[in-house]
Each structure stands twice: as structure tokens, then as C-alpha cells.
Homo-oligomer: 201 residues x 2
């Protein structure tokens, strides 16, 4: 069977970098944003719309309109969401069936549970996440530490909601992963190298 | 500075075996039950009494008697508990100052926090823990799976209470550890070897 590695991660913990480096080390495919682009192509929806549905708005958070005039709109959105979710599930299964791969986010650990992927969760202390965000995204310079902290919490809350919605499990709870890695005091590069060594055995 | 590794673990997850094997691989000291024996020797209390205080009864769970006749007994117990806790804190610091070591349980991650130990937490699915308990302790043969499950939960609840009492943090919560390892689908022997490789770098 192929080697499939899934990575869940707190915002700013370096999970994405770890995934990329790990895929490089293992010489296998890496999927993250590519999934959104491919779904957009398949559904003929814009990437930004697909991203919004997948990353930011679990269906239950849509406003429910009782008045008749709003119904068609609500149904239209709900139907598009369903299409996007279905495409995502299908695409992730197709990708994992093709070759060894590292998939970041998108509930891939759950979607591929029958293939028994190696499930990693990456996290870090808030100070480390702040520092990483500052280093990676200079466009956030205008934000105070407090604002950036709020932003980190907001993104993680959305990830948790999305994960809980799709899987009925708790995002980040250790029992859903094979390995939980705290990146506060380590270099992602080194962790990737060691993990690759481990996974190659 | 010495290399200090602390291991917190769910009952039946193989954390103790991992600690032993890791210490063997690294060629360093291993402390677990030895700590209880040493405290018993230092305080001139019996090992079983020390074990009960350390492992099973955080002070807050002692019954509080208001009647006069019970007071001397309660005070006596409280004072012995304090002595034992103090000795344990002191002893763990002494051991860690002596040489590289692996310490299992006993809130060592918190007691040694200034030495920045590498903090591991070991856990597993309930079925894996049941199987491990059955394999390791044939004396529990008389217990049904349900009873053994209850016993596993009871021990973990006590560990959590003890940890929370000593540290004011949540036992098993990922933020208190550098690495959380799920032993459900792996061999402890192999994990120990890989971890040793990682920690030797």
C-alpha cells in the first residue's frame, strides 16, 4: 500500500512547512492549496469561493432564512457546499490512491481512515506561533501582538469547527493522531529530516 | 547540560517499557519505582505507604473531619504527605542533576521545568491498552474486559488528579509536552530505537 501522511496543524505552528519538507525528504507528492485549485477547476467555481466554503464556513454556520424570498438563495449555497465537499472527499481519495503523499489539513486523516494514514498533528506555544507568523507574513506587520493572537485563535477555531463538522471528532485531540509534535523549541527542517528517517524504516 | 527525558503515560500504553528501552538505547539512568524506594528509605516510611501517597491519593482527596477526635490523625497524615512530596521533588532534582536520565511519571516534567527536559506523553486506544494489560499482568485474568477498562480509567483519573494537583496543568494536554506518541499501531521497541536516534542528534 502507498505511504500516506496527513498533517493537522495549529495556525503558525509550521505544519505546512513540515509537510512540504517531509514530502521533499520522502520524495513523494505534497498536497495543500493544490486541492482547492483542482476543486475549483472541477466545479467551475472560483478558487476564492471554494476556499471560503472549505476553510471558513462549515454549512451549519450559514444563516437560516425562513422568509420565502431567501429560500432559493440558501438552497443554492447549501447545494454548492455539498458539491464542494463531495469533490474534496473524492479528490483526496483519488490523490491518495495515485501515489505516496503528504496531505496538509482538509480532514484527510478522516477521509482516508480506511487506508490507515500516518496521522500527525503539529502545534506550538502561542509565542512561537506569533514569531513564526511575523517571520512568514510581513503583511501582518500592521497587527499588534494581541490582534495577531486573536487572528491565530480565529483560524484555529474555524479549523476545529470544520474538522468537528466533517468527522464528528475533536480537532487536535491526541487520540485522533499517531504523533503530536510541539514545534516550539525545534527547527522544522530537523524535525522533517528525523520524521522522514522514521517513516522510511 | 544533561539530557533529561520525562515520560507521562496512560496506563497500559507502554510508556514505562518505552522509558526503560529508551534509557537502554541512550545508555543513561532510568527512574520509576526506584524513586518510591528511595523516598521510603529517606523518610523511614514503608514503600507501600509512600506509593499510596504519591500515586493514589492527592491530599485534597483525604476526608476532612471536623470532629475533634479525628483532627490529630488528619494533621498527621497531611504532614506526612507534605514530607513525602517534598522528598520527591528534592530527589527528582538530585537525580536529574547527577546524570542523563529518563524519568517516568511523578510530574518530573514540571518539577524539572527549569532544566527544560524533553517531555514525552505516551497514549493508546483502549483496545490496545486492554491487550497490553492482559499480556503484561496475567494476575488480572479474573477481570472482565469491562472491569479492566474501569481499572485503566481509574488509574488514569488518579494520575490526572495528581498531575493537576502538583502542577496546576492538565495531564495529557498536548501543550505540556514536546511529543505525544500513540502506541496503538507500533512496537515500543522500534519507537524507542527511533526516539533514541532522534535524541542523540
Amino acid at each position: 500500500m502507498h505511504k500516506i501522511i496527513t498533517i493537522g496543524r495549529e495556525f503558525g505552528s509550521g505544519g505546512r512547512e513540515l509537510g512540504k519538507r517531509l514530502a521533499e525528504q520522502l520524495g513523494c507528492a505534497y498536497y495543500d492549496q493544490e486541492i482547492i485549485a483542482e476543486i475549483a477547476a472541477r466545479t467551475e467555481l472560483s478558487e476564492s469561493y471554494v476556499r471560503q466554503i472549505i476553510e471558513r464556513k462549515p454549512p451549519f454556520s450559514y444563516p437560516i432564512h425562513i422568509g420565502r424570498s431567501f429560500q432559493p438563495m440558501t438552497n443554492y449555497h447549501a447545494s454548492q457546499s455539498q458539491t464542494i465537499y463531495k469533490e474534496q472527499f473524492q479528490l483526496i481519495r483519488e490523490l491518495a490512491a495515485q501515489s505516496d503523499c503528504v496531505i496538509v489539513g482538509r480532514c484527510a486523516d478522516y477521509i482516508l481512515r480506511e487506508q490507515r494514514p500516518f496521522r500527525i498533528f503539529v502545534y506550538a506555544d502561542m509565542d512561537a506561533k506569533l514569531a513564526r507568523c511575523r517571520a512568514k507574513a510581513p503583511e501582518q506587520e500592521a497587527l499588534t501582538d494581541r490582534q495577531l493572537q486573536q487572528e491565530i485563535r480565529r483560524v484555529d477555531k474555524e479549523r476545529a469547527q470544520y474538522y468537528d463538522f466533517c468527522t464528528d471528532k475533536k480537532w487536535g485531540a491526541r487520540e485522533n493522531y499517531d504523533l503530536c509534535i510541539n514545534t516550539t523549541n525545534v527547527e522544522i527542517k530537523q524535525v522533517a529530516r528525523l520524521l522522514a528517517k522514521m517513516l522510511e524504516e
